[in-house]
């Protein structure tokens, strides 16, 4: 019996092909189609076995199960339904990959946008307090990546106080606080890390906590300018855009 099992396993080892139809399209292995949302044409893909990708295998994510999806999928779908298929096409988003414990170069992260393959990878187990905000935060990065000429960082930096400067990168600073508060032209501590993260923070807070964020922005001259900068730029992509 043992030999039969061994022969069986050997056969399967030789028959295994490490690729599939979805990999062909977005270069992430072991994905299954979960749902196609007819409202905005987003194709939701699920990783059940997990994956490792990137030129140096630096992006890792574990597989999700039915319970993980039951808990969080509707949140993802409802938030992404804020965006029309036309807008999503403009910002190069078509596929949303759902997995858990996402990390890049050993650092946990909520999402990774990949404009080249029109894909957004989302960690379903990201801190649920900030989960919905994180989705819009990553969407902003996709917008920014698609239209860098509309979100010029040097112009954005000029909006801050002259004595302020951002960190060299978003992960080379201890400024990681995500709570909403006014700090001299910033809405969160994390906003002070880089210009890109600052924009994404304001955008995501206006998307998910519009009333409170708008009221706070009204109290700060720098934030008013920053909001106007974002709205003007976003309306160049979609003239009907409003927060």
């Amino acid at each position: 019996m043992r030999y039969i099992i061994l022969i069986f396993l050997l056969f399967f080892n030789f028959s295994y092909v490490n690729a599939d139809a979805i990999y062909n399209l977005i270069k992430i292995p072991n994905l299954e189609l979960h749902k196609v949302d007819n409202k905005n044409d987003i194709k939701y893909l699920v990783s059940k076995k997990g994956f490792v990708i990137g030129d140096t295998n630096n992006i890792k994510c574990n597989g999700v199960n039915k319970n993980d999806l039951d808990d969080t999928f509707n949140k993802v779908q409802n938030n992404l339904r804020d965006y029309s298929s036309n807008f999503l096409k403009k910002i190069n988003l078509k596929f949303v990959v759902l997995c858990k414990n996402l990390e890049i170069s050993g650092i946990n992260t909520g999402g990774i946008p990949d404009n080249k393959f029109r894909t957004l990878i989302l960690d379903l187990k990201f801190n649920q307090k900030y989960f919905e905000r994180m989705i819009h935060h990553e969407i902003f990065h996709m917008i920014d990546n698609s239209y860098p000429e509309l979100f010029k960082k040097n112009k954005w930096r000029e909006l801050n106080n002259k004595d302020f400067s951002y960190a060299a990168c978003s992960t080379c600073t201890d400024l990681l606080g995500l709570n909403l508060e006014i700090i001299n032209g910033f809405l969160t501590e994390y906003s002070m890390s880089t210009a890109e993260e600052d924009m994404a923070e304001i955008y995501s807070l206006l998307k998910t906590n519009h009333k409170e964020t708008s009221q706070l922005i009204k109290k700060d001259k720098i934030l008013i300018k920053k909001k106007n900068f974002l709205v003007n730029s976003l309306q160049k992509i979609d003239e009907k855009f409003i927060f």
Binding site: F14, S15, Y16, V17, N18, A19, D20, A21, I22, N24, L25, L33, V36, D41, K43, K116, F117
Partner: protein, 215 residues
């Protein structure tokens, strides 16, 4: 004097069993070696063609495959496909990339011909006709037997390479430029050689010929 020994009943049974085992082994060897044994041959005369001008006939190791082209959906792509067929560019083109039970890919004219297959460059070759714009369609469903142009990671990079789906792949809808549908001969395509542990195939099967039914 040598005494004649009669075989016992169990020895006779063992002998018959060994003969049957030999027949079974030889039979299995023959069947396993002949991958085309159970592939149905198609009769070109017994097929109802919608439009004979848009039928391509591909011959592979296990038989003929009929492809109905869709110029209404992707006129430029079909035009390119026909041009390359008429030039004979696809004859000898290797199915160098095969995702088992999913899709097969051929059509690298520069590096993918079986007569001078370049394993290190196959998949990067070009035709001398340049790239064409993607013609995407939300009405083409990418059911099993769909024929479509392959492309690089970006759109508008279609050239000569094409793939045929062996199963329904609805996620490809609106992602690749469709050329047509296989209307007969899917069994022959399912016998195309698969790679071992990789989608790239060593000593791959190839297109013996690809012609239009009517020129």
């Amino acid at each position: 004097m040598i005494k004649k020994i009669k075989p016992t009943l169990s020895e006779k049974i063992l002998f018959v069993f060994l003969i049957l085992l030999l027949i079974f082994t030889l039979g299995s060897f023959y069947i396993l070696n002949n991958k085309c044994l159970f592939v149905k041959k198609i009769d070109l005369d017994n097929i109802n063609y919608k439009d004979k001008k848009n039928i391509a006939i591909m011959e592979v190791e296990c038989g003929k495959v009929l492809i109905e082209l869709n110029p209404n959906i992707s006129p430029k792509a079909v035009n390119r496909f026909k041009k390359l067929i008429n030039k004979g560019s696809y004859n000898g083109s290797a199915f160098y990339r095969v995702i088992e039970d999913t899709l097969i890919q051929a059509g690298d004219i520069e590096y993918g011909n079986i007569s001078n297959l370049n394993y290190s460059k196959v998949g990067t070759g070009k035709s001398d006709l340049g790239m064409i714009k993607s013609e995407l369609s939300n009405s083409f469903l990418f059911n099993a037997g769909s024929v479509a142009f392959a492309r690089k990671d970006k759109f508008d990079t279609e050239d000569s390479e094409f793939f045929i789906t062996l199963i329904d792949i609805p996620i490809y809808q609106g992602e690749y430029t469709p050329i047509g549908m296989v209307i007969a001969g899917m069994d022959a395509l399912r016998k195309i050689k698969v790679g071992n542990k990789s989608t790239y195939v060593l000593k791959p099967d190839y297109i013996k010929s690809l012609k239009l039914l009517v020129n």
